[in-house]
Amino acid sequence: MSDFFTLSVLVATFASGMRLATPYLLAALGETIGQRSGVLNLGVDGVMLLGAFFAYWTVLETDSRLLGVAVGLGVGLTMGIAYAIVTLVFKAEQGISGIGIYLFGLGISELLFLKQVGIPRGIPSFDDLKIPLLGDIPHIGNMFFNHSMLVYLAVLMVPVLTLVVNRTTLGLNIRAVGESPEAADSLGVSVFRTRAVAILVGNGLAGLAGAALTIELGTFQNNLTNGIGFIAVALVYFGAWRPVGVLAGSLLYGLITATVTQWKTLGIVTGATASLTTMAPAVLTVIALAIIARRAADQPAALTVPFSRDG
């Protein structure tokens, strides 16, 4: 255990935690926006898988990581259009249609991977970008300011989305249709349009999260996400529907995962104990959610409730 508590190992673990947190953060931020508008999307994981596969394939074929990121975003937006049609036009039960989206993403990404790639080949990751001055601070620099651009992008989304939700007309509309779509409608706010925008943002970020995951890992495999998208939905509840809360949850998750990995590498936990420790993040999530369940008041009142203007 003493191997773990050395400065360099702790710094490395923290930096790795931030990297690991990035896909969680992007996906959970997107889901936050969707849920604030009253739409639950349980298909985040499926959208991530599709975004990840297409980003991976693009990088494999073109060698352009930026293009891969753009394709991941585009795939997410496309899935967003599909989900908007399912939930807003056909008003399908959101808990169920999200599972459909997940299974679709899981199956299609696997099928295409086997058909088009077959044997996994590595793709280049983004280089770390050291931020001038800040990146040179001892230890702190390596913890916070020496990461790939995707990590910065994800963290930057937190203040940006906070601002959008709380300070813009779009944010006011999103919150209103999530809390009381009838009131918003009576004042001429289009519930359909507002929710569609929120769904697109949510799915776009999920696609981006998938791209970030595959590019950061430098590879793709079947079910690459391994449930990250579902954890992301849980993190929205954990974060009480606020970007900052979601950031805290994602970081906690990333740090625990990084710690467990580090312990395995150092041989602190081995064999069956190691497998048990891998559960730690999931167990913590359940405990945290059970405690937080008391804050149900923060939940958007119209979450999962389709809107229709009666006669």
Partner: protein, 498 residues
């Protein structure tokens, strides 16, 4: 220039099998309050939905401020200068007052909105804190926010749908002063209400609808409450039921120091003492949400009792199951009739059998005796005047008044010792309300102890022998009917010390 602001001429709207509006003429002048009066289903809301563009009229024209009105949504109506104050508030509970006003304006400059809002609220004495969250406000304040929302959008014509249902009598007086001031500014007001004394007090003109047609157009000076009721129903109506004197017997419902938790982990009923005797109607008056619902549910065994005792016909039923409460002689007509009173998807027959289908008389070895139940249902439907095509009709297809009669039939058929009726005539048309009142009084004559809970003070005064006023979970006063005045009760309902 004419002072006619809104002109609806020859409006006809057909639905399959129903003529909802039949060449209705309705107009509003600048500066006047024009009341639209009518029973449920008389065509008031169809007419208003046509005005707001939610329905297209089959025939007829609408001119607003001298131009043909063309709107197809509530938002377009607002744009044109017509505002609607809905009976169910259209507010986002987690938003501040300012945010609610700003919603849909396309501005994110809350400071500017707050400033203009404060100005308006001073001009019209619509006192409200612009930074308060809606859920923290009392209903009266929420209503002011709704009106401010419309005024902020410069509505020249305001439609108020049953706006006084949520207010105490004193609040109604203040509210009417504000409405009058808004009208004096040269705006037009359409007032929709079924409270006849309010209609008489506020209106400049009154138009009554019945079965989709204008059945009368008059002014308060030329008419009376009695005449208005007759125009609404189409036959003479008894506004106050005859109440023969009955000598109250011994106490059949006794609440001692009863305390009950509400839904939000706080006491909703605080140490209530109340007794209702055989042959007596006790009316519980109060603004909605002051613990009346929790009180009824606790007595009916539907909500745990935190402290105190309930005696039903001499038996201690504190914390007993609903089944035991009923076995001790309780009948309960709940306030949410479609939620707790009846199963909407069930047929009339099935809803009527729900209470005692497992008694010896109506089942054996767990099998229902369907012929006996059908025969009984037919009898009850006829005896209680439930208007239904057949006993196999889905309950949800009946009108509110008939569903309430159905529930009354089921509950009273058990010949209860104690009857609790919560909001017995809310949303029920005048004819059915008259009938339900007669039934309640008949029950009193048979020696039942009747507890009537109502937000409608007129109803409480018409029925009760004694009036208990509830405020913030406490019974603040119990007054003999003969000593009651509307003013005193109104003050008590608003929390004044007796």
């Amino acid at each position: 220039m004419t002072d006619l602001m809104l002109e609806m001429r020859g409006i006809t709207k057909r639905f399959p099998g129903v003529l909802a509006n039949d060449s209705v003429d309705f107009d509003v002048r600048r500066g006047e309050v024009h009341t639209l009066l009518g029973e449920n289903g008389a065509g008031k809301s169809t007419l208003m939905k046509i005005l707001f563009g939610l329905y297209a009229a089959d025939e007829g024209t609408i001119d607003f401020e001298g131009e043909p009105l063309q709107v197809d949504s509530p938002a377009a109506a607002i744009e044109a200068g017509i505002g609607m104050i809905h009976q169910h508030f259209m507010l986002v509970p987690t938003f501040t007052v300012t945010e609610n006003v700003a919603l849909g304006l396309g501005t994110a400059d809350m400071d500017q909105v707050r400033e203009r809002l404060t100005g308006l609220s001073e001009t019209y004495s619509l006192d409200v804190d612009p930074d308060a969250l809606i859920w923290q406000l009392a209903v009266g304040e929420r209503q002011r926010v709704e009106i401010l929302k419309a005024l902020y959008r410069d509505a020249r014509l305001l439609v108020l749908d049953e706006p006084t249902a949520v207010l105490t009598p004193q609040e109604v007086n203040d509210f009417f002063v504000t409405l009058r001031q808004i009208a004096d500014d040269g705006r037009g007001l359409i007032f929709i209400s079924h409270k006849l004394h309010e209609v008489m007090a506020l209106s400049d003109r009154i138009t009554v609808l019945r079965d989709g047609r204008v059945s009368g157009s008059t002014t308060p000076g030329e008419t009376s409450r009695q005449q208005l009721a007759q125009m609404m129903v189409g036959r003479p109506v008894k506004l106050a039921p005859d109440k023969p004197p009955v000598t109250a017997g011994e106490s059949r419902l006794e609440l001692k120091n009863l305390s009950v938790m509400g839904d939000r982990d706080a006491l909703a009923v605080h140490g209530v003492d109340l007794s209702v005797a055989a042959g007596e109607i006790v009316g519980v008056a109060g603004v909605s949400g002051n613990g009346q619902r929790e009180l009824c549910e606790a007595v009916a065994g539907l909500r745990p009792v935190t402290d105190g005792t309930v005696l039903l016909d001499g038996q201690d039923t504190t914390g007993a199951s609903p089944r035991r409460c009923r076995a001790s002689g309780l009948a309960f007509v709940p306030e949410e009739r479609m939620l707790h009173g009846a199963v909407a998807q069930f047929s009339v027959n099935e809803n009527l059998m729900l209470l005692n289908h497992d008694s010896q008389e109506y089942s054996r070895w767990g099998f229902l005796k369907l012929p006996a139940l059908r025969e009984r249902a037919g009898r009850l439907v006829e005896h209680y005047d439930v208007k239904t095509p057949s006993i196999d009709t889905a309950t949800s297809a009946l009108s509110g008044g008939n569903i309430q009669k159905l529930i009354m039939a089921r509950e009273l058929s058990a010949e209860p010792a104690v009857l609790i009726a919560a909001q017995p005539t809310r949303g029920v048309d005048i004819g059915a309300a008259e009938y339900i009142h007669e039934r309640l009084i008949a029950q009193r004559e048979q020696g039942t102890a009747v507890l009537v809970v109502s937000e409608d003070l007129d109803e409480v005064l018409a029925l009760a022998d004694r009036v208990a006023v509830m405020f913030e979970g406490r019974i603040v006063a119990v007054i003999d009917r003969s000593d009651c005045t509307v003013e005193d009760l109104g003050l008590l309902m608003a929390g004044a010390q007796p």
